[in-house]
Symmetry: D2
Subunit: 157 residues, 4 copies
């Protein structure tokens, strides 16, 4: 979705600038995508235990869809990341998922429905501890993400 | 489920005693019921924003079912009540529903998927403000409860 | 704080436009205000059970303050509003308050520490049901807001 | 507090039986203890993201204290443990702490107010990943617990 942070904030952070440049050709999600999709999966880094404001800003443009019930009965699922262990991994997903309740959707989480979940740990959705961007998603996180994606696809069918 | 409160507490409250007497022939839910059911709907009064300990005690006996994955992919939904408005209606349902995440279930809530929900208000599950037992569930609460039950049944099918 | 919504969204809503005009001389909160304040009270309408993205965007600019521990031991409290009963009144405050945990602050809520709270109902913070802007805060909401403010001031002292 | 689990459940688990035996001379907390204490710190293993029913049963006996406002303005804080990472560490503390809101107490958490917190990770309260009882609290968990205790004591003063 759209980057809503002030340019000065972005420019003060080399990694952020590089990421904006690297992803400039990735097409942005729009509310129209929410309408045709049968399943919606959101991912966000934690911001003090909640979702990033860029994601919340996108969510706040969905009033029209909500009003006409366009999101009812779709499947919803979420994943997150945080700098350290237990610093918003659970809270970000659980608090964000209340959006799905309001939209009348059906919530699907990974639970402990696959052995990989006992390694990754988080039953609410995949989450990864990434230092401050120093630890890329590891084998466990990637395998758990594949499981969550597969599970969402299967339930949606 | 089983009453776990101390007998002295029960006896100090006329309404509680009467209710125990009135419901003595209602068969108690067991963990075996969780196993055959395709959908599981829990209701609880709020206790400081969480579920009643009687319900939590029942939940705490499900370790065996969880360990063998017996609850995976079932449909879960909850409802609640509280003495005053906004005094745990939302919080009780949302915090209790984390049990469903751990069990690997699928969460279905009423959302605003029916006009009755705009009157009852709570998208997470039906809830009713009951004074301290002085206000029985009204027309709105009953209609919303019927809607939530119907929705759970339909999604389960 | 700063309005971050797209101009097209604002212009599509007469009340929103009027409010922007009416509040154009109110000075915006800045992160510098967070630094000198001994107590911080946030209010937000619910957006699907979470805070408005405008507030989250402001929160997301506080990384510098957090990194130097500038918010530690301050008093935090929140209030909210929603269109209907039980439609995010509790959830918005509880999920938003996790910001205070991350900032190392001390959380003060109204509880049932005053008779007005049994009328207003919400122990987590004042909240008001406002239709869709059709119901201005009533006597109960205003009295509860005064109580919450007074309580925050007293504990801060 | 009082063990409320059925004897059959306890007897089916050697570690549980040993713990009952080992702690039989530890005096149980009573609601009277809540009344004289200036600060109240609760710890609980996670049970599917919520507190153990033994603790909830104790909480459910405090109606008398709550009704007379005996817990108002006390300091509250919580800690937890779970079998795996992100499997209720945050959720258990956050959902349990809503009890403090209802009691009109003041919530104090460790935040990131000490360097140990960046190692332990959980800003809501200390938590420890204990396998299934196979991993005793390590140096980090113990140091973080000491910090949380010290912080609660200082704020209480």
């Amino acid at each position: 979705m759209k980057e809503t942070a002030p340019e000065a904030a972005i420019n003060s952070n080399e990694d952020w600038k590089k990421n904006i440049e690297a992803t400039k050709d990735v097409s942005e999600a729009t509310t129209a995508d929410l309408e045709w999709a049968d399943a919606i999966v959101f991912g966000t880094p934690t911001r003090y235990g909640g979702a990033a404001s860029q994601l919340r800003a996108f969510i706040d443009t969905t009033g029209g869809l909500w009003a006409k019930g366009a999101l009812i009965d779709k499947i919803g699922s979420s994943f997150s990341s945080a700098a350290t262990a237990h610093s918003g991994h659970e809270n970000t997903i659980l608090s964000f998922n209340s959006v799905f309740y309001h939209w009348g959707m059906i919530i699907v989480s990974p639970g402990y429905n696959d052995p990989i979940q006992f390694q990754m740990g988080n039953p609410y959705g995949v989450s990864h501890t990434l230092g401050n961007g120093t630890i890329p998603p590891d084998k466990t996180a990637l395998a758990a993400a594949r499981f969550q994606g597969k599970r969402v696809a299967e339930i949606t069918n």
